[in-house]
């Protein structure tokens, strides 16, 4: 029994090392695409199992998070809370935890099998991401919307004081931009030249009660960020890895120029599973058995299910 546990531990370590290896090699678009397909499988399998959770936004952000973690962020091995000497990421729209967990696991932060504990009692994979259960990869709790950008700004300023030249990334939802705290943060970052921060907005045009236009129109998000003094980068194809790469490259090039940077990522909610696409209805609904099977059919296993 004990030997078995040790074996499993060794295997987990091996997986971690392999995953780190993957991340350390410059990833090809094809590799990223394969990982994305696997991440999609992870997402729908996770939410299906517990019949709860948020597949829509998760699927829409899969390419972005995969590209960020596997191709763009300069990350250390292992995990510490301070994240000095590396790029760090904050997820403000915590409900898309499935994609976050999948990408973290597949980037080596914790064993991929742990994805099967999502939203179960005593799991480290809470409904919304948290530091409370000590899951590596998570630096703040989110779930109550609107708080992540402020935290990211604080972390970015800590990096400056610490003389750490790395970048802080943050992701928010578009509906989430209705929260006033974001605009406090947006105003602050511009007034204080927080230029080691690259925020992104998941501009999928959907929230819980319908499209953002029908719920509470955001108008031009670009015009708003520009009026607030930010550098805006638009990624029209937010589910296309090449476009994301270009957008993130642009963003990194603009960093350090006294202005905070935001990427407006036009994504499709539910991307990659045809019947989930383009509708708010899959914001927070889990697929049933048939829907899961169909979703998996549309996204064949690439790197191995957990």
């Amino acid at each position: 029994m004990n030997g078995f546990i040790i074996l499993i531990r060794c295997l987990k370590k091996l997986i971690l090392t392999l995953n780190n290896l993957i991340h350390n090699l410059m990833a090809t678009t094809k590799q990223l695409q394969e990982l994305t397909t696997q991440v999609r499988r992870d997402i729908i399998r996770m939410v299906h199992k517990v019949s709860s959770g948020h597949p829509g936004g998760s699927l829409g952000c899969a390419e972005y998070l995969v590209t960020l973690y596997q191709d763009v962020m300069d990350r250390k091995d292992g995990f510490d809370m301070d994240g000095l000497g590396e790029d760090i990421f904050f997820l403000s729209n915590g409900h898309i935890s499935p994609v976050f967990y999948s990408v973290l696991a597949r980037s080596g932060y914790f064993p991929v099998e742990e994805l099967s504990t999502f939203r179960l009692l005593n799991s480290r994979l809470q409904g919304h991401p948290t530091t409370h259960e000590g899951l590596p990869g998570i630096r703040m709790a989110s779930g109550s919307l609107g708080q992540g950008l402020s935290v990211a700004i604080g972390a970015a300023q800590a990096k400056k004081i610490n003389g750490c030249g790395h970048t802080v990334f943050a992701l928010m939802g578009d509906g989430e931009l209705q929260e006033g705290q974001n605009w406090e943060a947006i105003m602050y970052a511009a007034a204080n030249n927080v230029d080691n921060l690259i925020a992104a907005v998941d501009l999928n045009g959907q929230q819980i009660d319908g499209s953002t236009d029908t719920v509470l129109s955001l108008g031009s998000v670009k015009a708003k960020f520009e009026a607030f003094g930010w550098d805006v980068i638009e990624v029209e194809k937010g589910n296309d890895i090449e476009s994301i790469k270009t957008g993130l490259k642009d963003a990194k090039a603009k960093a350090g120029n006294k202005k905070p940077i935001v990427i407006l990522l036009k994504t499709v909610m539910g991307n990659g599973i045809d019947f989930m696409m383009h509708t708010h209805k899959w914001h927070g609904k889990a697929p049933n058995d048939e829907q899961l099977a169909e979703g998996l059919r549309q996204n064949p296993e690439t790197l191995g299910d957990y």
């Binding site: 517990v50 939203r119 799991s123 709790a141 109550s144 209705q178 819980i208 509470l216």
Partner: protein, 317 residues
């Protein structure tokens, strides 16, 4: 011992929805606001029937509370709807100044209170909202126990002039109070008579208290179960009268033991007749993901926990 029958489990939030639908037809001054959670709050019907009296605030709870306060100016009776966390902690200062201190006739209606919202986890499971709202001067705080009572309370608060916090939940729980009840704000309901121990319960824990009373009864202990749907103003008299008889008390709430119903009861008794008390409540901890039943079990918020608390407090008489 008087017993109660579950006439079919339903979620208390649906009781709210049904009450609001009825108010839509009977009281044209009632308006409703929601912060991107119409389905979760069961406000769909009201919205469909009275689009001109429905306001979608988007994910902007502070603005929603302010707008609700403003809508009272002009005679409206606004009902705001979102999750309990975003109904209270998120907007405490807005409620404090624009509603409570300004004395506005706003009904803050909060679903998904407590642990039983389940899988979403701690960020959504507020266990402090009763305490938050009870500390505001002039605020009425109600936590209903089943579908029927929630519906009746929803209708009753529209007739009461002043700020109200109405707390209800997500899971299906036994529905056992009368469908035709009239809800009296501030009036505790004695559900069972008993001479050995008083159980004062609120919200989802009222049914658990009844279950506990049954178990205790089998052990020859007679428990007086009080449904204290209104935490503020607290029916101190009902509590004092009961403990005059039983000499010990258990409070039961889906809330932190700090700041909630339990402490209100402890204060009243410390001032009038100090009495051994046990607290069925969460033990100053955040919640977590899990099914409602798992969480109630793990965090000690079910009939079993109430039975144990009663046995403990009985020894302390």
């Amino acid at each position: 011992m008087k017993t109660y029958e579950n006439t079919g489990s339903k979620d208390t939030r649906s009781g709210f929805g049904a009450g609001l639908t009825e108010l839509g037809q009977t009281n044209e001054n009632v308006v409703a606001l929601c912060a991107d959670l119409i389905g979760s709050l069961k406000m769909d019907d009201f919205k469909a029937n009275h689009p001109e009296r429905f306001f979608q605030a988007g994910i902007a709870e502070a603005n929603m509370i302010g707008m609700a306060a403003g809508l009272t100016i002009g005679g409206k009776i606004p009902f705001t709807g979102t999750f309990a966390n975003f109904s209270t902690g998120r907007v405490y200062d807005q409620i404090r100044q624009s509603v409570a201190y300004s004395g506005k006739n706003v009904k803050i209606c909060a679903s998904h209170a407590g642990l039983t919202l389940g899988e979403d986890g701690a960020t959504h499971q507020i266990l402090e909202d009763i305490g938050l709202m009870k500390m505001l001067p002039g605020m009425t705080v109600i936590n209903t126990c089943d579908y029927n009572q929630t519906k009746a309370a929803t209708i009753a608060i529209a007739d009461y002039n002043g700020p109200v916090y109405l707390r209800f939940g997500r899971p299906k729980v036994p529905n056992f109070t009368p469908a035709d009840q009239k809800f009296e704000i501030g009036k505790a309901l004695n559900l069972t008579e008993g001479g050995d121990v008083t159980i004062v319960a609120t919200g989802h824990l009222v049914w658990e208290a009844l279950e506990a009373a049954k178990t205790l009864n089998e052990q020859g202990i007679s428990a007086e179960v009080i449904d204290i749907h209104t935490i503020k103003p607290l029916d101190a008299k009902a509590i004092i009268n009961s403990v005059a008889k039983t000499k010990c008390i258990v409070t039961a709430e889906e809330h932190n033991h700090l700041g909630g119903l339990g402490e209100s009861v402890a204060r009243v008794l410390a001032q009038h007749s100090p009495t051994p008390q046990e607290f069925v409540a969460t033990n100053d901890t955040f919640g977590e993901s899990g099914t409602p039943a798992q969480l109630m079990e793990k965090y000690g918020l079910n009939a079993n926990a109430i039975v144990n608390a009663c046995l403990k407090v009985l020894k302390r008489k």
